[in-house]
Amino acid sequence: MSFAAIHIPDFIVQAIVRSQPTLRGRAVAIVDGTPPLWSVVAANPAASQIGIELGMAKSQAAQFTAVEIWHRSVAQEKTAHEALLDLGWSVSPRVEDTAPDTIVVDLAGLGALFGSEEKIAHELATRGTGLGLSARVAVAATSIEVAVLAARGFPGVTLIGPGEEAKRLSGLPVHRLLPSFEILETLARWGVDTCGALAALPVIQLSERLGQEGVRLHALARGAFERSQVPAKPSVYFQEEMELDDSVEELESLSFLLGRLLDQLCERLAVRSLSARAIGMEFDLERFFEKDLQRSAHPGQQKLIPRKFEKILTLPVPMRDAKLLLKLVRLRLQSDPPPAAITKITMFAEPDRPRTTQRGLFLPASPEPEKLELTMARLANLVGEVNVGSPQLMDTHRPDAIRMERFRLAQVASASGRKKKLSASSFESAGKKSFRAHAKKPANGFRFFRPDVPARVELRDGLPARLFFNGLRGEVVAASGPWRTSGDWWQVPWDQAEWDVEVRFSTSSQKVKRSVNSFHSAKSANSRGLYLIYYDARQQGWFLRGSYD
């Protein structure tokens, strides 16, 4: 009953280096944080030796010219971790997912396939190298924890035979046992800094002082702590990838490939009695020109990274109908196609339990969620994704500041629920009183022009006198304003002066008349109109925001 622990030292760095082989052997520091406030979160020994310290600001680290600075990639770490699991599963089905950087493999019964334990350990290290991971491997005859401690504590391949656990572990620093902060501090006060020193303490007296945690650490330090292996559960991520020999440009050809991937995904979901809550697609695009390539986020980093195109299809209810999903995917890609030929497709499904409830008999009739989604997708294809949904006011003075919330059938069904939702989100700030007061007032109808219409305005004594837009010309009969707003000065500022104007058009020709009417509601179609115009100080130009009914 032997176990092999495989540990990847400097895991965060290795996860990056694995996908960037040119970094091997170089000093690498990884930064993370909210831009522009990045700090070093990991560094390999070469970088530490030069003087890189954890927590250092990126700009400070950048002063060390010999150090390669890269941004942390959780995705790369996840992939590296999956590769690590693959490394374990490549020799045994019983693999424990101990930590992102460590796994434990049960070696029982592998002798016939791979030879001695030493051979297996070396084989694992070699395969790890093949996967781009420089692994430490330790084999312990009896205890999983001994294997893990040895893998974390000793470089290369380590073999610990039965009975020699305590001796081999004795030199390891006590913090390798991962005690709580409080216990670590107590041990430091006691001058107990190695596993050997901890193992030498009388266990009963130790239990009186540190409790059961102390006893466990004591056993760990002696290499006498035993536990059962917890084999890793199968992944909950459903992902399919397809590398293409020849790049694909046409949507029809692409649909065929997507259909195949969707079939496979839905099949796997079906076996597990699951459906998809979302379908994600990532396309690697073919490189043609230098301009098609994006530079790395790190300014000092001159490496070019491949261009990606991503799409995520969020579904209103869990689905696994491959044909329906293909229709939705196609519609989405029609409205926003990839900008270049595709060389690789990665498709993943976010699993969820299938929809099992039946709609109530007495609920008002509404479309099937699947059909509604299809309709919404078609609308999005027509008018653009950002123009479909329920508009929601944002808490800002910026005029016309709305965001489109995804249209949800469930909320429409429950009127009271919707009211609650609205009140919670819209009245959250101190401005809520004025918002309420405003809401009570009888408001004129206002028709927004989207996008705003560029206009030319002639001023007389500082007041708008004539208005020109879309080939129309009108005299301003009355004007009220300016109503000024400005803000967001700390990021992308805006500064506008609005006017409410009554305009009388010169409607000599039928064409102009039609044009005017197109800016009016049908009822008020005449040669006058009430408009909201504004001067944008940033763009230094006039625009029509909309018209009053």
């Binding site: 006691w190 109503w483 000024r484």
Partner: protein, 1056 residues
Amino acid sequence: MYTELHVRSAFSFLAGASLPEELASVCAEREMEAMAVLDRDGMYGAPRFYLAAKKINVRALIGAEVTSEEGWRYPLLVESRQGYQNVCRLITRMKLRAKKGEGQISREELENGASGLICLTGGEEGPLAHALASGGVEAATKCVQQLGEIFGSRNVYVELQRHHCRDEEVRNQRALEIARKLNLPILATNGVCYALPEQREVLDVFSCVRHHRTLATAGRLLARNAERHLKSTAEMQKLFDDLPEAIANTQFLAARLQFTLNDLGYQFPIYPVPDGRSQMQFLRDRTHDGMLSRYGADNERARKQIAHELDVIEKLDLAGYFLIVWDIIRFCARQNILVQGRGSAANSAVCYALGITAVDPVGMELLFERFLSEERGEWPDIDLDLPSGDQRERAIQYVYERYGKLGAAMTANVITYRGRSAAREIGKAFAFDVEVLNRLTSLVGAWEYKDANDTLERQFQDAGLDLQHPQIRKFCELCLRFQDLPRHLGQHSGGMVVCQGQLDAVVPLEPATMPGRVVVQWDKDDCADMGIVKVDLLGLGMMAVLEDSLKIIRDDYGEEVDLSRLPANDKWVYSTLQKADTVGMFQIESRAQMACLPRLKPTCFYDIVVQVAIIRPGPIVGQMVNPYLKRRQGREPANCLHPSLEQVLARTLGVPLFQEQLLRIAMIAAGFSGGEAEELRRAFGFKRSEKRMKEVEYKLRRGMEKNGIVGETQETIIRSITSFALYGFPESHAASFALLAYASAYLKCHYLAAFTAAMLNNQPMGFYQPPSLVTDAQRHGLRVRPIDITCSDWLCTLEKIDGKFAVRLGLRYVKGLRGDIGAEIVRQRAMHSFTSVDDLKRRVPRIQKEELAVLAEIGALNKLGNQREFHRRSALWQVERTARPSGPLYERSDDNGEDVFVESSLDDSGTASSPLAPMNAEQRLVADYRGTGMTVGPHPMSYHRAELQKMGVRCAAELARLPDGMHVRIAGGVIARQRPGTAKGFVFLSMEDETGIANAIISPQLFEKCHVVVVHQQFLLIEGQLQNQDNVVSVKSQRIEALTITHAPTTSHDFH
């Protein structure tokens, strides 16, 4: 012509973004004759606005926005003095009954205090807007009618503001309807919150600070636009071109507002005099009594001086003020509280006779006019030094008791945004994460000296912020704009104002954070500017040390020392001073003082006065230190500036060192009167104005020409006066401090144990940290014993060992040990000794495990074991078991069902040895520093001496014996780092080893190169050239490197 009548300054604390001075200046630029500042619930900025406006001929109108119980704010303008008094009282009432920073006024209170006030209907936060929003026009009409009932219909103006907002204009139209209906005047204002449009950004960040939001999440809490700035008449006329009467009314109303802060109606309290005598007669009698005891009956000079001073006091009607200060002194004497007047009061023989000061101004020929003159028309300033802590608090409480809660208050201290606080709050608004903010604020430079590279930009770059990023650039820009803007109101450390009658009618009062304290809304300068008398009751750490030393000497040595009767020329004291062996001595212990003492070689008290005064920015900037010292050493002749000035400058060898000398020079050379000379000092003082300086200089030149002083001599005199007046130190003040310096030196020389214990019991204070004080005392042969649970008290105490006193460190030095637990330990031990760790835990059950662990770690529990080999780790082993809560098996309850402590049955109870190895020397050192911040054992450097000697490192004591110019290596723990503003970027390090303190000088270039090592490393190895001149020893650094001596967390005192 338009007058802005609704302005909020930055003293509305986070609701206004410009200082009153800036508002006044922009108001003048806009050619407005008057302006009204209405800060929120206070008169905080009123004096500064009034004074700034007065200078530029703007009429400063006063008012306040007062918060109502319903949540709106009444904009109130002060029409008359009664109105001012009413508004001050209203604010005081609402503030004193609420928590700090809160408070509302009820309608009834407003009704009772409405006379003399004009009420506006307000902007978006005013009563009209509130009523309109809640009940429409009908409710608003009713609201305005009610205002008419409260203030009188003649005193209510319907306020119209136009910031280009639709909602606001709708409100304006309703307001107009109401005004017409009720026949009330309308008034245009701009509801100003900042002077210039770009300051809207500051206001937005303030809004974020106030609402604890970030800029990204604050939404409509931020301003809609940048229109709330101070607009010109033309701009306002254009805005209200449809309502010209709204503009015209601003003029009419401004003309009605006749009140200014010129006449507050302040009166100093009348001292109750017995037997129907006048205050002046009573003062004359008390002074006469004092004169007899201080000078004797036949000191004619003193009698004349006192008579002159009393005449001046009588003319200025200040007898009451002197009696009130005398009363405080008497209280302190009765209560055995050490007290000493300082500052210019020490120039007064009357103060000396009354016991207010301890320096004889007649004997020292000090200039009375520096303290008080007929010309100046100001209240005198008397500062009293008291022992910091409880004693000072007793004196303050006495003043409160004597003059009543509304008759006395502390002056405020306006807390303003500085580099760190600004960066932190703006950073929060920008949503920077805490770690970055910490890094940033820790890097914001705090040295006194700033070199050209030490800019905010550089600090941001050091913190890892990219200034190319627009957001970071904006952040940096705002940090600069935030400097000096008020953040909130604090309490001044000792300034008290008192008033005859009701102080709350003069300035609003509010509660301080400290219970039992009331503060006025103005700081000490504002109070002085407004003519309110202030008495400073300042806490001085050295006074507390002296008082504690005297008590320890009384209790342990059985001797009585009277500070007023110390031997005047104690040889030991002067020889110690000459050797610069002055660690712990008041005012003469700093590195710079130590570098001066061996050259000045004090031999009498006046030398100490000079010594205290000479290491100051004035003499240093005026380049007077070296000439004085050279003359003192006989290396250059002691020439005076002019033969007529010999009398004035002779005792400082022809070099002007004190302010009084400058005044006398002006009096002799230019024929100035005492008052004119003082006027000259003020003209060149901190609040200097070009115009005033020119006027005084002209007068000075004319006076000198009359006396025949012309040409180069005149220029030299003018130069020394103008350069020195800014930083000069008053001789009287130096003399007061010199007394304390001498007393501290005397006690340290003769009663080292008592003085050291008192110093340690009053930390933090002074130039050196406790470890350096202990090491210095040990070098002087004092034994300092470690903390021991079996004999240490909370404070450091004395023990007698082999007939000699030793200091036993007190439990106050155990880091993390709570005061009440320390007291409980001492109380329990007094009943009977602790026998074990278990016994300690049982009898002091509230002691926490961490507290026990620290006590064990520093060896304080070593005597609780019965075996010889019971050591710190044995105690830690015991502590861990003792402090661990028992499991249910071992728990038992007493009769009341309470859990009681049960000793373990499985193990020893503090007697058995532990399996842990004893600590080695380094571990003990680390534990000592970690647990107490110091060690009483060998200095960390001593463990490495042999090794250091091999490296050619000289110890500190050796340096004085080495020749000047020699190339040396020194090493030690840094105990102080300084970069004084006057030293052109040079850094001075004091490094300690087991033999003493070595000084190193680092040039700006080397500092630039080794910045991180110098600032962050605790032990340094420095190589350089030895400078040994006149026994002043230092090393001019050429190479600096970090040294690994110990992992103990030693600390240094870095002066910023």
